[in-house]
Amino acid sequence: MSDTTHTNTGFFRAISAQSAGVALELDHVTKQYPGQPAPAVEDFSMSIRPGELVMFVGPSGCGKTTTMKMVNRLIEPTSGSIRIDGKDVLSLDPNELRRHVGYVIQQIGLFPHRTIAENIATVPKMLGWKKDRIADRVDELLRTVQLDPSIFANRYPRQLSGGQQQRAGVARALAADPPVMLMDEPFGATDPITRERLQAEFLRLQAEIGKTIIFVTHDFDEAIRMGDRIAVLSERSHIEQFDTPARILASPANDYVTSFIGQGAAIKRLALMPISDAALGPAVSGGPRIPVTGSLRDALDLIVLSGAERITVTDPDGKAMGSIDHAAISHVLGTSAPASASGPESAVAP
């Protein structure tokens, strides 16, 4: 007993030290609720690389949230194993485990009777951090999620807007710098404009912190925008396809995935491709100009909007470096589909 406790303390110290994300593996995980004819999650296997943001997309009731909650043992798996940085989570104390796995839910769940600073300090306090260190950390996190500490630290949750509360929720989940984050439709309850801003902010943040993240959503467009890889899930958390957004859009594995992508798959793909993917024609004089850092969708948008046959592509300094037309854009879509089918990551993970 004391032996395992000792090892676990060491393990938590080790994963805390490498807060930038660790490998996460789910191995033949099944959840069968007693009295239910079919399991909620059946034989789910996936391996997630350190620092990867994996989106679970699927209709409500498909088991995606159940799958996610087994990682921090809010739901105990019936069989199978889940490993964080190679260590089976079932061998760890559940509460200790959860203090090292960030958890954000749609309804946020901030403590209404505690200030924002106290909310964020929850886990560090349980971990026995010194007061100064906690105060510094709270300050740092509030800045990270773009809430001014001098304004928000001593406010109560009800004094914040929905978007601000969600930022505070993310800050609270990040408090002890957990290497793994679980996010359950975190931006689902916000209005579309706030949601897009939160998504963009979170992507910027993730680029810095590089956590290993499971992000559950039922919004496929959110999955495309945010995910390094997307797992499209159906009943019993069955993986229909697990691949990068671009490859899922280019070659959906089956009709189920196609139906999930919905209308406008080509346009969605273009949004993920930089203009530099296209073969540029010779520079033309005059007409609309677009920076090469934009996406092909931006380029198409400008062509449609301006009515020009060909638009000028400029380098970051604003100098013309070539031009692009409708045909060049279509050509990119045509060539990228077959190429991806044999891509190294297109296979469903074991």
């Binding site: 809010l74 958890y103 769940g109 209404p112 009777h113 886990v123 109560y156 009800r158």
Partner: protein, 222 residues
């Protein structure tokens, strides 16, 4: 002898017994405070144990509901062979009556705590008992305090009846008055006991409004 009520005589009566009235009021306050303290601890404990268990909850609430319908005089009479006279049976009886509103409001208050708050607390690795003490009870606190206020009012009234088993408090004046009806100071006794009880009840209620405010997080105030 003229035994009808006269203001001048009543003022005179008060002036002579002012110290005793204050002493009785202090006793009354003490017996209410002690009973409430017991009821608060026991009531919150029972409420916290049953709020999430349908059968336990129904049992506790109906038992407390039935208990409250037993006439207080009967409870006091039943308790005195066991506990004798004076403070003992008074405190037990009062705590007994104070329980229902506290249990009921603890249950209601805990049920009203949004489940996502408890879930996010669990997700952060806080243990069940700790969540109850540091999160659920503080959030339910305004509702629990509303129950305590009701209990306090009931207890002040019933404490007056505890004088029947020689309990402490202003009930002694009321009973003295009632048992000596027709005598010179009968009405003065009864009136003093009754009015002082009402004033005490109002003061205690005002105090509880302040206490509830002071002990409720600013984040929970509407």
């Amino acid at each position: 002898m003229d035994t009808s009520f006269k203001w001048s005589r009543f003022i005179n009566f008060l002036a002579q017994r002012w110290d005793e009235v204050l002493e009785l009021a202090a006793q009354h306050l003490a017996v209410v405070a002690i009973s409430l303290a017991f009821a608060l601890v026991i009531g919150i404990l029972i409420g916290a144990l049953v709020w999430n268990r349908p059968i336990g909850r129904a049992t506790a609430l109906s038992a407390a509901g039935i208990a409250i319908t037993i006439p207080s005089l009967a409870v006091l009479a039943l308790l005195s062979p066991l506990l004798g006279l004076g403070w003992g049976p008074s405190i037990v009886a009062l705590a007994f009556y104070a329980l229902l509103p506290i249990i009921r409001n603890t249950v209601v208050g805990l049920r009203e705590v949004p489940s996502q708050i408890v879930e996010s607390a669990r997700g952060m690795g806080i243990g069940r008992t700790r969540i109850l003490v540091t999160t659920q009870l503080p959030i339910a606190w305004p509702v629990i305090m509303a129950g305590v206020r009701v209990s306090a009012q009931m207890t002040v009234g019933i404490a007056a009846i505890a004088a029947y088993v020689a309990g402490p408090g202003l009930g002694q004046y009321i009973f003295t008055g009632l048992s000596s009806m027709g005598s010179f100071n009968a009405v003065n006794y009864a009136l003093t006991g009754t009015v002082a009880t009402i004033i005490l009840a109002l003061l205690i209620d005002a105090a509880f409004i302040l206490v509830a405010r002071a002990t409720t997080s600013k984040g929970l105030r509407a």
